[in-house]
Homo-oligomer: 368 residues x 2
């Protein structure tokens, strides 16, 4: 018997989160799909086409073994517990749609359908709930996904914090796409789609009631349009197989860019070297981080992605991103190496190189 | 501006729940799939077979319109907030797996994959969490489903109640199956798979620390085996099309049997008449209900189903259920009528007939 207890840091997205997931959940639920630890599970869906039946099926004895492959489906889930539930640039509803749409995209899937599960604290005003549900509907429309199933639970006052939302999602993965956190290869190039740290700092400043001269807004946005733009740029007449050269896509949410790069370096068993000065950070975020003692590279984003692609297509992917509204500040920030496997190396403005690990604990709790 | 607030009763599964879902969520998220209001969304998944590409797709311009039907997929979600998190016959983990497996079955789907999203209150003991995760793994194995994706959030102490779990699930619907809450037809027969009210009363007695001479246990169980047994009994050599004569399947959870029958009567625009004396209720549940003033027909079940089938197959479905461990106490309890559309009529032991509506409010909060 251990007397260990769950700490806030277990939900940080940092090292303690990863330990909890690995030691507690992954071991018990282990299967070939979960063990890949990507943002979405990619499922090979077995089924029968209407009309096609076998003797076995006629007897009602339908096992997965008697079915045929009908498609590659991405499936993902996220619960949202952000506090406050309304913030500059969005609210928990918009976040819940964007976050799950983005997790699907990061598997290379076209997001199609979402579920929505609400846990509501007794006493939440109906007006506030309506505003958030409106925001979900608007964001789903923008992303081109349908919310097709849902659930509502209410808990007694004091046993939740206004509103928690779970969204799960399914999407179709085109056959030529093969992105996974474990696909990075030495020589690949690392890109980000824009400025880092906007979401986390916007939440923090709203939550703490801080006043800054410049307005800080969350980057919360659905990224499926951006991902489709990237894929489209790699699917020109001469060759469509370039899509397979996009090796990894991931949205740097909890734990920010450095945590995400550490996950990718570990999953792919490669090193990742990035150039600090090439990483876009907007001035208000930089100023707020300096004042409050945060590193923007560890602060969460909700409308940005990291792409790791082969060197020959990096420029093309960069240009495709820059042409899209959600990729205007995209940049090439580094490369994948065979040395320092599992580690992230940051080259500083002064030319020094340092290992940038995951944070153990909690920099900013409840930012998503 | 209204100053209305969310009440516990909005989560009861009764009339206020239905009003909230209809007026708040369904209107804003409205689409053809959601509007069916079944336990799972049944999706026609469009995709491309590997190798099959069109010019349009070669240009990366992949819209749902350029895809072909690859299968009928069921997709569902539920959040679990049961209190206490461990109870006689199960815990929140077992419940979270069973509940979502059952929602998939009630669409006639073979459950395949689950997601698991955890919202953990800071301070929960790791031992307790481990026990619950073990219980999820065991139940998933029993039900033959894999947990393929997940998420963990931690909220600060006092802002949740130990542990909330969301599970979402996907499954394949065989082409010959067509069950929906809106498929009941006059002349159909209504069956239940066993005793009513076991889960709700087990939770209540555990929560309130009541002592009864006889032990009350939740019926929490995955029902996919039972549903497959029913379908198998209708898929004999002479005719496999009998499966389509199973019109509705639903698990009577929040709000119990009467609430579920009201949902089905309304969705199908038919009347449902049931014989009170034919409804199985076990002695300890009957005794506890009498003592505490509950009606077992409004108390939640987590391992039982209601089936509405054509009269010619009712006996065969009953026998199939009785042959399965989770259907040993199955019974025919009534029939579907063209009169009293949208209403449930209970014929009492004394021969009286009364309309049994949904409860407006909360009989037992947080039982799932």
């Amino acid at each position: 018997m251990t007397t260990e207890r769950i700490l806030l840091a277990h939900g940080s997205g940092g090292k303690l989160s990863h330990d909890l997931v690995e030691k507690l959940f992954a071991r018990r639920f282990s299967n070939a799909i979960l063990d890949r630890m990507d943002d979405s599970a990619v499922l090979e869906i077995m089924g029968r086409k209407p009309g096609a039946t076998s003797n076995r099926q006629r007897q009602g004895n339908i096992s997965p073994h008697s079915l045929e492959l009908v498609g590659k489906l991405a499936f993902t889930t996220d619960s949202y517990v952000v506090s406050p539930i309304v913030f500059p640039g969005g609210d928990i509803g918009k976040l819940a749609v964007c976050g799950t749409v983005n997790d699907l995209c990061m598997s290379g899937a076209h997001p199609l359908y979402l579920s929505a599960g609400f846990i509501i604290e007794e006493g939440l005003s109906l007006d506030e709930l309506e505003g958030i549900v409106d925001s979900m509907a608007t964001t789903a429309l923008q992303a081109g996904v349908a919310i097709v199933t849902g659930d509502t639970k209410v808990v007694d006052k004091g046993h939740a914090d206004l509103l928690f939302i779970n969204t799960s999602g399914v999407g179709i993965v085109p056959p030529e796409v093969n992105v996974s956190g474990s696909n990075a290869r030495p020589g690949d190039v690392v890109l980000v789609s824009g400025t880092m740290g906007d979401h986390g700092m916007a939440i923090l400043i709203q939550r703490e009631g801080l006043q800054f001269s410049s307005h800080l807004t969350s980057d919360c946005a659905p990224l499926n349009g951006l991902v489709e733009t990237i894929f489209a740029s790699l699917s020109t007449e001469e060759s469509k197989c370039l899509v397979a050269r996009v090796h990894c896509l991931r949205d740097p949410t909890r734990g920010g860019l450095i945590t995400t790069l550490n996950e990718l370096a570990q999953a792919s068993d490669v090193g990742i070297e990035i150039e600090e000065t090439s990483i876009p950070v907007c001035d208000p975020v930089r100023a707020a981080c300096e004042l409050l003692g945060f590193d923007p590279l560890y602060v969460a984003n909700e409308g940005k992605l990291v792409a790791i692609v082969t060197a020959d297509i990096a420029q093309r992917v960069l240009e495709a991103m820059k042409a899209h509204p959600y990729g205007a500040n995209a940049a090439i920030i580094g490369e994948v190496t065979s040395s320092h496997a599992g580690k992230v190396i940051v080259r500083t403005a002064l030319g020094a190189r340092r290992i940038a690990g995951m944070l153990a604990g909690e920099q900013l709790p409840r930012i998503c």
